[in-house]
């Protein structure tokens, strides 16, 4: 199945991707550009939330409190490291 199977998978993936891009683009043209909160509010008929002022890096921005984000990410990183070291130790045995 290697060659044909792989090609078949890629064909299905490409077809789905194409359909999604077309449908998504059409929906975007209907609704117009708006932030995610505004998009939700608009969809259900609620008054739009006031958008956060710009910022972030190249349009990328953080949702929520940045300090808490970093703190939680560091804690998760420590947990990952501990879990990984435990795994390595068990694998070595």
């Amino acid at each position: 199945m290697t060659g044909f199977g792989e090609m078949r998978g890629l064909l299905i993936f490409g077809l789905i991707l194409l359909i999604i891009v077309i449908v998504s683009l059409a929906a975007y043209l209907v609704t117009g550009p708006m932030g995610i909160e505004a998009r939700y509010s608009h969809a259900v008929g609620m008054p739009a939330e006031e958008e956060e002022p710009g910022g972030g890096w190249f349009g990328f921005s953080l949702e929520g409190n940045p300090l808490l984000y970093v703190v939680i990410l560091v804690i998760l990183g420590i947990i990952c490291l501990a879990a990984y070291l435990r795994w390595r130790k068990q694998e070595a045995r």
């Binding site: 199945m1 290697t2 199977g5 792989e6 078949r8 998978g9 890629l10 299905i12 993936f13 789905i16 991707l17 999604i20 891009v21 449908v23 998504s24 683009l25 059409a26 929906a27 975007y28 209907v30 609704t31 550009p33 708006m34 932030g35 995610i36 909160e37 505004a38 998009r39 939700y40 509010s41 608009h42 969809a43 259900v44 008929g45 609620m46 939330e49 956060e52 972030g56 190249f58 349009g59 990328f60 921005s61 953080l62 949702e63 929520g64 409190n65 808490l68 984000y69 939680i72 990410l73 998760l76 990183g77 947990i79 990952c80 879990a83 990984y84 435990r86 795994w87 068990q90 694998e91």
Partner: protein, 229 residues
């Protein structure tokens, strides 16, 4: 019953269902929280039944939790602002049992930093779990169709996020929104357009998930083998 409390942490009162706290009545908030807790309880019971959980699985669950939390909070400047959550990757790598616990933790942590109201955590856990489960089933089901890990993971991502959008629409339509004058059919049309735009980001997420799974399959294929979760 009117339930109205806006979270004041971080000033962004939205969740994965990007609506402010108070959009659902307290009854529906409690209903979705109840089912989310039932789901987490069932996942804990199933996990406990496994005599010895493979430390490898625990490590993978920890890594996908960190990755999902990290990316979940980042708004990407596409179509006015969208974000990814990597739930299909959680389903593929951790499986549905550990996946249920992972999405619960990610939603709790997200609410804790002010990304999303606490009232919508229950509903969002159910939405995210539907993505995990659909991606897991699709990924495994495609094994007989194609040998390409990239395609399997990519298609599983599309399936997961599609099911997640359906679940999101279903939960909103069942719960109803407080204080709006739109009819159910108007809300359905609005949510359908929203879901269609949301699916646009699924393309990026599918490619990223596909590449990650293909890479893992090359360097550590045992992670993708067997019945996980």
């Amino acid at each position: 019953m009117i339930y109205d409390c806006q979270p004041d942490i971080g000033g962004v009162p939205v969740a994965h269902i990007h609506l402010p706290d108070g959009s659902f009545t307290l009854t529906w908030v409690l209903v979705w929280w109840f089912w989310a807790l039932v789901l987490v309880g069932a996942a804990l019971l199933l996990a406990r039944r496994t005599k010895q959980i493979d430390p490898g699985k625990i490590t993978i669950a920890a890594f996908v939790t960190a990755a999902s939390f990290a990316i979940f909070q980042v708004q990407i400047p596409i179509a006015g602002g969208v974000h990814m959550n990597l739930t299909p990757l959680i389903g593929i790598l951790a499986g549905p049992v550990l996946g249920a616990l992972v999405v619960f933790i990610v939603n709790i942590l997200s609410a804790a930093i002010g990304h999303g109201g606490w009232g919508l955590v229950g509903a969002n856990v159910l939405v995210n779990f539907s993505e995990v489960l659909a991606a897991y089933i699709t990924y495994r089901g495609l094994k007989r169709v194609t040998s390409s890990l990239f395609s399997r993971a990519g298609i599983a991502t599309f399936a997961g996020l599609f099911v997640g959008n359906i679940a999101m629409m279903g939960i909103i339509l069942i719960s109803g929104i407080q204080g709006v004058t739109q009819t159910t059919s108007q809300i359905l049309v609005g949510l359908s357009l929203l879901a269609a735009v949301n699916m646009g980001v699924a393309v990026i997420e599918a490619i990223i998930t596909g590449l990650m799974v293909e890479y893992i399959g090359r360097v550590r294929p045992e992670i993708l083998d067997g019945d996980r979760g």
